[in-house]
């Protein structure tokens, strides 16, 4: 086997220029795939993370039918007891966060706009979402039930500043219900549109406004290990009554999940096409190198070398080419990705300040991330592809007839 490997390695470097061109083609293709995938993966992760942390959880518990209807009077009943039960179930694996989502009207002496107000538990919320980091003026919510945080654009529309009073009106149990709040903070999410309708109040204030004590719209479970969501969802589903729906994050955030799935499929198709083009290039190169060596293979066969050994040599040549190309390609891909990972890619020039994907407000600067799983798949596929490209030339060599081959010039 050693002599076959030695022969293969020397054959690969026999024509240095050709090998360099082949390696360049494969590695550039691979580098492009790695870079593009790292950027997509970073964006997906950010979308999923942001979506999960601010709009849902890895597992969400809602009133039965709320996911489809978004009906404001569909609650998780006995919220305190349910939350205690979930706290016990999740234990040290994560944190349970209660939320209410209110649609209504917010008014100031200078005007009124529609509002999407989230009622939340500030102590728990800061552990899972980064709303508090987006406060650009004032402070985030605390235990003050009279406080409200407004999107910066909304504050501008209402012409209010920190300390000013606003009134939020929503549909109560029977009549319109309203409550007075004092503006304690302004946030900027990165999306001017979102900043025009977002507001945050405490959970107690939201329940009071809805005239519905001890209920929430959502109990979201945020896990330390996101991959555990399905197991936790199943466990929670078994423990809670059927009057609530228990959803894993892909069901709770179908738009994000579907978008990521679709985009991944599209990327896969693109990667497959790039891979195919590169494979054909490798096939051509290896075929040429086999045709150039027909005489040599004829001699080896004449000396009694088994045809299977010729196949082994040529496939090994493909493997060596593949390993070198993958090493160069992955190295190059990571090198190009690195600034995208550490400094991010600023899409603001292209997208403006509103970078909203599938309902999730993202920062205009998107950070790439290393998708190790794909990196390993691409690396193995790169080597496998170059090896597969050698199969046809190898079989061709193995079928040579020594006498005719040795006459080949």
């Amino acid at each position: 086997m050693w002599i076959l490997l030695k022969l293969a390695a020397r054959n690969v470097f026999r024509n240095v220029r050709r090998t360099a061109i082949t390696v360049a083609a494969v590695s550039l293709g691979l580098a492009l795939m790695v870079m593009s995938n790292n950027l997509s993966y970073g964006m997906y992760q950010t979308m999923i993370r942001t979506g999960i942390s601010t709009m849902a959880g890895h597992v969400v518990i809602q009133g039965d039918g709320y996911q489809d209807s978004q009906e404001m009077r569909t609650f998780v009943p006995d919220a305190a007891a349910a939350q205690a039960q979930l706290d016990a179930s999740v234990g040290d694996d994560g944190l349970v966060v209660p939320r209410m989502f209110l649609q209504g009207l917010i008014t100031s002496p200078n005007g009124s706009v529609s509002v999407a107000a989230t009622g939340l538990d500030p102590v728990r919320e800061v552990e899972v979402s980064d709303w508090h980091e987006k406060v650009v003026d004032g402070v985030f919510l605390s235990d003050d039930d009279g406080a409200i945080i407004l999107g910066r654009t909304m504050a501008e529309s209402l012409q209010v500043e920190l300390g000013d009073k606003v009134v939020v009106m929503v549909q109560g149990e029977e009549d319109v219900s309203s409550r007075l709040f004092r503006v304690r903070g302004l946030i900027a999410t990165g999306s001017a549109a979102a900043d025009g309708f977002l507001a945050m109040i405490t959970l107690d204030a939201a329940q009071e406004l809805m005239e519905a004590p001890d209920v929430v719209h959502q109990l979201s479970v945020h896990l330390d290990d996101p991959d555990d969501y399905a197991a936790h969802a199943a466990e929670i589903r078994g423990a809670l009554p059927e009057s609530v729906e228990v959803l894993g994050w892909p069901e709770a955030l179908p738009a994000i999940h579907d978008m990521v799935e679709m985009d991944t499929r599209q990327n896969n198709s693109m990667m497959f096409i790039i891979g195919l083009i590169v494979a054909l290039g490798v096939l051509n190169t290896v075929l040429m190198s086999v045709i150039e060596r027909i005489r040599e293979f004829g001699v080896m066969l004449a000396l009694g070398t088994a045809p299977s050994k010729l196949v082994t040599i040529i496939v090994m040549e493909g493997a060596i080419l593949g390993v070198i190309s993958v090493a160069v390609g992955v190295g190059l891909g990571m090198l190009v990705s690195w600034p995208m990972i550490t400094q991010g890619v600023d899409f603001s020039a292209m997208m403006g300040s509103n970078l909203e994907v599938s309902g999730v407000n993202l920062d205009a600067v998107v950070y790439a991330a290393i998708d190790w799983e794909r990196l390993i798949i691409y690396s193995l596929a790169g080597v496998a592809m170059t090896m597969l490209s050698t199969i046809y030339p190898a079989i061709k060599a193995a079928r040579l007839r020594p006498v005719e081959s040795m006459r080949h010039v």
């Binding site: 026999r14 004449a302 000396l303 009694g304 088994a306």
Partner: protein, 229 residues
């Protein structure tokens, strides 16, 4: 002396367009173990074809080739390949060394394919390279050797695996007169000292001068078979 090769009524025809070329036309021949036989004849007389058929590199249209008691027609391609590897050595006109391997590695190639141990390989290669006069040139690649030196490496490769029979097709055709004569002398020496049977296809008088037996072919038929010793 028992026959190491027996050829019976051997025919090999080629199709060239609508014409049938009879490269060999009913050849029968026995070659004894330890012999030094020259097949001679003009171009197209069938000597290389006969050599290829004896070596199992080509299949006859009809007739039989028996090497060491085994009928090649009854053997599979893999068995014939194994036989070539274990029992036969080849020397070609154009040296046909593997260009990416050194002289040492070229001579070692057959031994590696035979699965010999590292120690045995080293001993055999050094011994054969010494026998062909290439001491100190082990590390050189074919491109760094003269034609005569390359053919010596080819001879070393042919005999390193201790074959019973070496088939040499015009081994001196690309060499100058002195180098060719030296090589013939070397092969005769190997024949005498190690008892290796040599069969040549050639029209080089130097080889004929050292032959023990000369078989002349014309138009695919044996026209004379002369024993000289």
């Amino acid at each position: 002396m028992p026959a190491i090769v027996s050829v019976r009524d051997l025919r090999r025809e080629y199709q060239q367009g609508t014409n049938t070329i009879k490269a060999l036309d009913g050849v029968s021949l026995d070659i004894d173990e330890g012999d030094f036989v020259v097949l001679m004849g003009p171009s197209g007389s069938g000597k290389s074809t006969l050599l290829n058929l004896i070596g199992g590199l080509d299949a006859p249209t009809s007739g039989a080739v028996v090497v060491e008691g085994k009928d090649l027609a009854q053997m599979s391609a893999a068995e014939r390949a194994r036989m070539r590897l274990e029992r036969l050595g080849f020397v070609f006109q154009a040296y046909n060394l593997i260009p990416v391997l050194s002289a040492y590695e070229n001579a070692e190639f057959v031994l590696l394919m035979q699965g010999r141990s590292a120690a045995e390989r080293k001993e055999r290669v050094m011994e054969t390279l010494h026998a062909v006069g290439l001491d100190g040139m082990e590390g050189r690649r074919p491109s760094e050797l003269s034609g005569g030196q390359q053919q010596r490496v080819a001879v070393a490769r042919a005999i390193a695996g201790k074959p019973a029979l070496v088939l040499a097709d015009e081994p001196t055709a690309n060499l100058d007169s002195k180098t060719g004569a030296d090589l013939v002398e070397l092969m005769r020496q190997l024949n005498e000292e190690h008892g290796i049977t040599f069969v040549f296809a050639t029209h080089d008088p130097k080889i004929m001068d050292r032959a023990r037996r000369i078989v002349r072919l014309v138009d695919g038929q044996i026209v004379s078979d002369e024993r000289l010793d």
